[in-house]
């Protein structure tokens, strides 16, 4: 019975069925299965399959995003039980991502967050038009390994630099790796402002993030 349920859980992630994934997660808990087993044998197998299908070009980005959403929905149900048991999904790292102040473009950042999540990172998306102070506050609160700053306008790019400067002023610069991205940014810009990483697209963002965590 457990194997059957794990198989269904895996399939909900492959099919991107977030509501069903949450239902099955609860069903598994109600059946007395350990939360960590539900996660590892059911949903993680699904997200791994989604990742493989994407890497082979058989799945497109929307399927990856929807798989990640299903995973997120299941984890939300399992989290209290995971915390109680002292376990959880193995994470490649903790990331905070946002679009800088004055800029409300966020689709690229949203895609990156989904892909990082699918790849095994724990991601907090703080949205768009994020003031420097908010990034600093989130870094103090969540102590992320990675801070991802997105900007889509040449006029808002300087806020990526300001955020890095603010991290230094707050004594946090050495505790977090900073990645920058967005259409007007370049590797040269990232180097100029002292960022640790740059990515031209979401695929490269995952590779760069893994590299910065020593998992690449």
């Amino acid at each position: 019975m457990a194997e059957d349920l794990y198989s269904q859980m895996k399939q909900t992630v492959i099919d991107g069925e977030a509501e069903l994934a949450a239902e099955l997660a609860q069903k598994g808990l109600d059946a007395g299965l350990a939360a960590v087993d539900i996660l590892d044998e059911g949903f993680v197998k699904g997200i791994e399959e989604v990742g493989d299908l994407f890497a082979r070009g058989e799945f497109f980005l929307p399927e990856l995003v929807q798989g990640a959403e299903a995973m997120k929905a299941a984890v939300a149900v399992l989290q209290p039980a995971l915390d109680a048991a002292g376990g959880g999904r193995r994470t490649l790292g903790v990331a905070v991502a946002g679009t800088v102040a004055g800029d409300i473009h966020e689709i690229g950042k949203t895609i990156v967050c989904s892909m990082l999540s699918a790849a095994g990172f724990t991601v907090t998306d703080v949205g768009c038009d994020v003031p420097v102070e908010t990034f600093i506050a989130k870094c103090k609160e969540l102590k992320p390994d990675l801070l991802l700053l997105s900007a889509l306008l040449t006029t808002t790019m300087p806020n990526q630099q300001k955020t890095i400067e603010a991290l230094k002023a707050a004594g946090l610069r050495d505790s977090v790796k900073v990645m920058v991205g967005g259409a007007p940014t370049t590797r040269a810009w990232a180097d100029e402002i002292g960022a640790d990483g740059y990515a031209e697209d979401a695929i490269e963002a995952v590779v760069t993030a893994k590299g910065l965590m020593g998992a690449g």
């Binding site: 497109f60 980005l61 409300i104 473009h105 895609i111 006029t155 300087p158 007007p184 040269a188 695929i203």
Partner: protein
């Protein structure tokens, strides 16, 4: 109209929300505005169908009247392949100025949209781009865009200085603008506030929706087009409510999300540009649609050439008043100098082959045919000498050089031989010739400068804008 009425659009500008509310739209606490059908129809009834975008001289004026199509440069990229170092670097104001002179020299470029950002000027970059355009081309400049609204008045003032006075500026505006929406169904606060300033000043501008299928728009082409239309319409309605009769034009550019990377793909193999032009005309305004010669591909090889050809044909055939972006590669981010020349060459061919043909003035040469008669030839006929230079030949057609014909032993040699046999150049030589042409224009073409007092006044305006910008939070 269903989308605007039932789904609504996000309007972050308080001033814009007040205008909508005062005119019968429903404004929610979440800044979502629902615009009833009758408000849309009433507003759009005041939008002018035709107006002029003026050059410095009337011969460069563009009549947006539905019977002319004009090609613009593409904007606004952020990288330049430097003509000296041949390396990619960030764009600067000087690049805008140089490109403006190149556009001035190329006959089929009707107006300048600054192709790259003046990134060396920070917050006032758009004003410096506008200035670089106005001072380096006699053609119309699309210099008004989204910026801090405190600075938008400088665009109006620059336009007034160049035109001479307010009445002239309104009658023959030397600057137009573009405000991008943020899909899906949202606006930029500064963009809306700038749009209101331009509308009240009579500076023509477009709202431009760039709906990307699969990410910020439906994954079906018509869905993306319809959503974009709703976004643009909401902006045009606002402009008409604020300043009835202000000149606005409609622009929807549907793109595709790269399904593997999430990136931007502009080359959508559907007749969407034509549809967007028809939508604009259905709303009774000019259209900025009509396709692009520019390629998503970063290079200037076969793929870019294919795109340039298709884009040029679209530009000529789409019926859009403004169409056919020219000048950038890499999904509208890179200014590659020789690419500009190659694209323009393709456009000349397309315009020549597909454009309007003046049948009334066509010479059937019946008397010459009669003169030469059966089994004669035309080589010696004066008519041939008079007319054969009227045929536009590709700019880099060169006399054959027999000593450079290669052997037939490999693909490269066959390619070289075949190319030369047809009177052409191999691709490396074409690229080199295009680059040489760009450099020649860069070094030799200098349009007549503005009068000294006008130049001084523009400089003073810029300095004032820079000072004001320094104090903006």
């Amino acid at each position: 109209m269903l989308i605007l009425e039932e789904v609504g659009v996000h309007v972050p500008s308080a001033r814009a929300r007040t205008i909508f509310a005062d005119n019968g739209a429903k404004v929610g606490d979440d800044q979502i505005v629902h615009i009833p059908r009758q408000v849309v129809e009433r507003a759009m009834s005041t939008a002018p169908r035709t107006f002029c975008l003026a050059g410095r001289e009337e011969r460069f004026d563009l009549a947006l009247d539905g019977s002319h199509s004009y090609v613009a440069t593409e904007g606004v990229g952020v990288h330049v392949v430097d003509t000296e170092t041949r390396k990619l670097r960030a764009s600067r104001k000087a690049d805008v100025a140089t490109f403006a002179r190149v556009c001035d020299a190329l006959p089929l470029i009707a107006f300048l949209w600054p192709p790259v950002s003046a990134q060396d000027h920070g917050t006032t970059a758009p004003l410096h781009e506008c200035h670089a355009g106005l001072t380096n081309t006699l053609k119309h400049v699309r210099g008004a865009t989204t910026m801090r609204p405190e600075l938008a008045r400088y665009v109006v003032e620059m336009a007034t200085v160049v035109a001479g006075d307010e009445a002239s500026r309104r009658r023959r505006p030397p600057i137009c603008g573009n405000i991008c929406t943020i899909s899906p169904l949202a606006h930029d606060e500064n963009g809306l506030d700038c749009a209101l300033i331009y509308a009240e000043a009579g500076i023509p501008f477009s709202f431009m929706a760039m709906t990307t299928m699969g990410s910020v728009a439906p994954a079906t082409a018509i869905g993306a087009l319809v959503q974009g239309d709703a976004e643009v319409l909401s902006g045009m309605v606002l402009a008409q409510l604020a300043a009835p009769g202000c000149p606005v034009f409609h622009s929807v550019l549907v793109s595709l999300m790269d399904p593997y990377t999430g990136g931007y793909v502009s080359e959508v193999p559907l007749p969407l540009h034509w549809m967007a032009a028809e939508l604009a005309h259905a709303w009774g305004v000019p259209s900025l649609a009509g396709g692009s010669l520019s390629s998503d591909d970063g290079g200037i090889g076969w793929l870019a050439g294919r795109r340039a050809g298709l884009g040029a044909a679209e530009a000529v055939l789409s019926g859009s008043e403004i169409c056919g972006y020219l000048g950038l590669t890499g999904a509208a981010t890179v200014l590659f100098p020789e690419q500009v020349m190659l694209q323009h060459e393709v456009l000349l061919e397309a315009a020549s082959e597909l454009g309007a043909f003046a049948f009334e003035a066509a010479d059937t040469a019946l008397d010459v045919i009669r003169d030469v008669g059966p089994r004669g030839h035309f080589l010696k006929h004066r008519h041939t000498r008079q007319h054969m230079r009227e045929m536009r030949l590709p700019a880099w057609l060169r006399p054959r050089s027999p000593e450079t014909d290669g052997s037939l032993s490999d693909a490269d040699s066959i390619d070289r031989s075949a190319t030369r046999a047809s009177g052409g150049l191999d691709s490396a030589a074409v690229r080199a010739a295009a680059f040489a042409d760009y450099r020649r224009i860069e070094q030799e073409h200098h349009p007549e400068p503005l009068p000294t007092d006008v130049l001084q006044e523009l400089e003073q305006l810029l300095a004032s804008a820079d000072r004001e910008a320094a104090h903006l939070v």
